[in-house]
Each structure stands twice: as C-alpha cells, then as structure tokens.
C-alpha cells in the first residue's frame, strides 16, 4: 500500500482519515479489509506521535474501535449475526454524504449581500393596559406597614435609650432665619451661642448650608470677622 504524506491535522477527524485511506487504496467500502485498514491507520497515528503532535482522543478511540472490529471479525459468526464491519461501513457512508453535502453548500455560499442594522427608534413607554381600580386598593394594603419592619429604625425610636436630644435641621433653619429677621446680620460665631449639644451645632451648620444654597443668606469674611447676612435685606 502506498504511503500517505498527509498530516493528521489535515483531517477533520478519524472518519475523514479513514475515508482518505479507503479512497487511496480503492477499498470497497462494503467489504473493508479491516486488518489492512487498521495497519495503515495506526501508521498514521504513529507518524503523528513521532512528530510529537497531540493526537486527538477521537483518533485513539477509533483505533480501539478498529481493533475491536478486527477481533470480532476473526471469531466465527452465526448466520443471522451482522458483520461487525457493517457499522464502520455505515459510519463511513454517512460521513461521505456529509462531505458531499458540504461541497454542494460551498457552491451556494455567496456572502455578497449586506443587511442594514435595525433603525434606532425611540421606544414608546407610555403605559396603556387597562386595570380594575380595585387593584390599587389591594396594592395599597400590600404596601402598608411593610415599611415598619424593613426600614432602619428612625432616630426618634432611640430617644428613650439615648440621652442626647436629636435636633432637627428644620428647627434650626427657623432659628437662623428668625435671628436674621430680627437683626439683619450676625457674627458667624454668635449664631452658635447657647448651642451646647453637638447635635444642635451640627443642625445649625446644616441649616446654614441649606440656606446659603437656596440664596436666603450670605456668609461674608473669615475667621472671627465672619458674618452671616440675610439676603435682599442688607443693611449698608
């Protein structure tokens, strides 16, 4: 038999290699000389190993299968028993058809048209389903009270445990504005006079920031000269 010059990676798999051997040796696929085929197949595998190439497990599996078929065909067979080579014949025929079909497809492949990306249209989000109004009542009932168990406890709920009073920013906003309405302006430090608790001082400071942001008051100067003025009502 003729030596093959192919490399294993040129084959799509063991069936491809077997088909090549079959074609090369003009083997009748319906009457495979299994011993010869096995010998050639193993030669290819050995060549690969000599070349230090990884032989894919599928090739080794097929080798085992060929050995099995060879052994089985040496044993005497009952008349109604199938020739163990027939399964291999079936596999090879099927793969042969697959290759032929691939060749046919290749002649059709064109890849000569380009399609268009979908147009990006703004979606219409407006909700249009119709509901029973009673669903709202049910939903409200479901929502109700969920909060009490899930929300972090409000600061007030600690008031009994914590001696420090919590001073709200809102109350200090009122304090700052009231002071300024009376006096027009006040020294920054004076604003904190009498605010002994830290909570109160923080609240005054936050209230001041808020008022500055909303352009209700202005802070001028720095250090000890820093002054807070009510806007739109400045004195000369």
């Amino acid at each position: 038999m003729e030596k093959l010059q192919y490399k294993l990676e040129n084959f799509e798999g063991p069936l491809d290699l077997l088909l090549t051997l079959v074609a090369k040796n003009k083997i009748d696929i319906y009457d495979i000389p299994i011993a010869e085929l096995l010998e050639q197949y193993m030669e290819q595998i050995d060549l690969m190993r000599e070349a230090d190439l990884d032989v894919a497990s599928e090739f080794l599996e097929m080798a085992a299968r060929l050995v099995y078929i060879k052994t089985a065909s040496l044993l005497p067979r009952q008349e109604d028993e199938e020739d163990p080579r027939m399964e291999l014949t079936g596999l090879l025929l099927e793969y042969q058809q697959c290759k032929a079909a691939a060749e046919k497809l290749k002649t059709l492949a064109a890849f000569n048209t380009v399609t268009r990306p979908a147009e990006e249209l703004p979606a219409d989000f407006i909700y249009k389903r119709i509901h029973d109004p009673r669903e709202l009542r049910q939903a409200l009932r479901a929502a109700w009270g969920k909060g009490k168990s899930l929300m972090p406890p409000k600061p007030e709920s600690f008031s009994a445990l914590v001696s420090a009073r919590i001073v709200s920013v809102a109350s200090q906003t009122v304090y700052v504005l009231r002071t300024l309405w009376k006096r027009g302006s006040i020294a920054y430090r004076a604003l904190f006079a009498g605010k002994d608790e830290r909570s109160a001082r923080v609240a005054v400071f936050l209230a001041l920031l808020e008022l500055v942001k909303n352009r209700r008051v202005r802070v001028e100067g720095d250090g000890d000269l820093c002054e807070v003025k009510l806007m739109g009502r400045e004195k000369a």
């Binding site: 979908a118 219409d124 389903r129 119709i130 109004p133 939903a139 409200l140 909060g147 009490k148 809102a170």
Partner: protein, 195 residues
C-alpha cells in the same frame, strides 16, 4: 459605468450604513466628484421622498441617511415591539397605590411606607406616564413631589382621582370580601401615616 449603476451603488452604500454617510465618502468610493455624488443623492431623494414611500432619504449637513418615513412610525413601532407594555410589577403597583392615595408625596414617603428603595420604580412609572412630578417640597433638600397623571386615570378607568376605591382600613367593616362596589365613593380622604 452608467449613472444609473453609480446611483445604485450610492443607494446600496447609504442603505447598508445605518448612519449618515458623507457625500465626500460616497464620491471617494465611487471615484466621482462630490458634485456628482450630490446629484445622485438628489436623484435618490426624488425617488424616495414621496408621501407613500416607507423610506425617506434625508440630508444632514453634508451627509445623507435613509430613515423610516415619519408618517409610518406607529406601525413600525408596533412591528418592532417598541411598545413597552409589559404589565406592571407588584412593586410598581404598590408604589402607584401609595402615591395615588396620598398625592402629592415625596419618594421618601413612599419608601417609608414600603420600607424599600423605590427610585427605580418611581422613575419607570414616570417614564410610563403614570406618575408625574408636582413641584418640590419646601424642606431642606427640596425633595420632588409626585402625583398621578391623566394617563393613570385612563389605565385605571377612573373619571377623576376622587373616584379611587376607598382605601383599606377605613370603612373596612362595611366592606364585604369582594363586592367592593365602585359606586361607594366615600372619597378622597388622605390616609394619615402614624410614624
């Protein structure tokens, strides 16, 4: 090459690109002057820009772009499933209910009632046209207020917001299990939260 064929090539290029294509670019690829590309595009505009055409060719500065005839946007949206009409989630329904019965309310109020962050849900209800902003609360941070929309009334088959079914809790005793007849409109009372 014939002018028809060149125009067809320009058409193919414009079609395949989803984005505007500069006339310069068309001219360069087809090996013609920009003026010629301009003429081709203008011929294509004559061909496409009719009232019955599904596709129009727009000039945007020195670029051209195919787009859908705006007159046909609705069937296109329907076909492309751009109508986001998945039913409301339970979370969305609850937020909607809390707002509907207490409007105008801040997001913080809704979150306090439900005990979970609602930013995403509120945003999507606004996008769906079920909630709308209603100014700000004059408190530090000036939080946004939300209320329900006309579209909300339509979706819940309400003539006006006064026609909301009575809230649970009040008049619960008269209320038989399921027959909450909608006629009983004892109205718009606000639920007061005891927190």
């Amino acid at each position: 090459m014939s002018i028809e064929e060149l125009t067809g090539q320009a058409e193919a290029i414009l079609f395949a690109s989803g984005e505007p294509v500069a006339l310069d670019r068309i001219a360069q690829v087809l090996g013609v002057r920009t003026a010629a590309a301009e003429k081709m595009v203008s011929a294509l505009q004559d061909k496409y820009n009719t009232p019955e055409s599904g596709v129009h060719l727009l000039m945007l500065g020195d670029s051209a772009q195919f787009c859908t005839n705006p007159a046909f946007i609705e069937p296109v949206r329907a076909a492309l499933d751009l109508k986001r009409n998945t039913p409301l989630s339970q979370a969305a329904m609850e937020v909607l209910a809390v707002v509907a019965y207490n409007q105008p309310v801040t997001k913080a109020f809704v979150e306090q009632v439900r005990g979970v962050d609602c930013s995403g849900v509120v945003g999507s209800l606004v996008q769906k046209g079920l909630l709308e902003e209603r100014g700000r609360l004059e408190l530090p941070g000036r939080p946004l207020l939300y209320g329900t929309t006309e579209n909300f009334l339509r979706c819940f088959q309400l003539e006006s917001i006064d026609r909301l079914p009575p809230p649970p809790g009040e008049g619960e005793q008269q209320e038989q299990e399921e027959d909450s007849d909608d006629g009983e409109d004892d109205g718009p009372e606000q639920i007061t939260l005891d927190v």
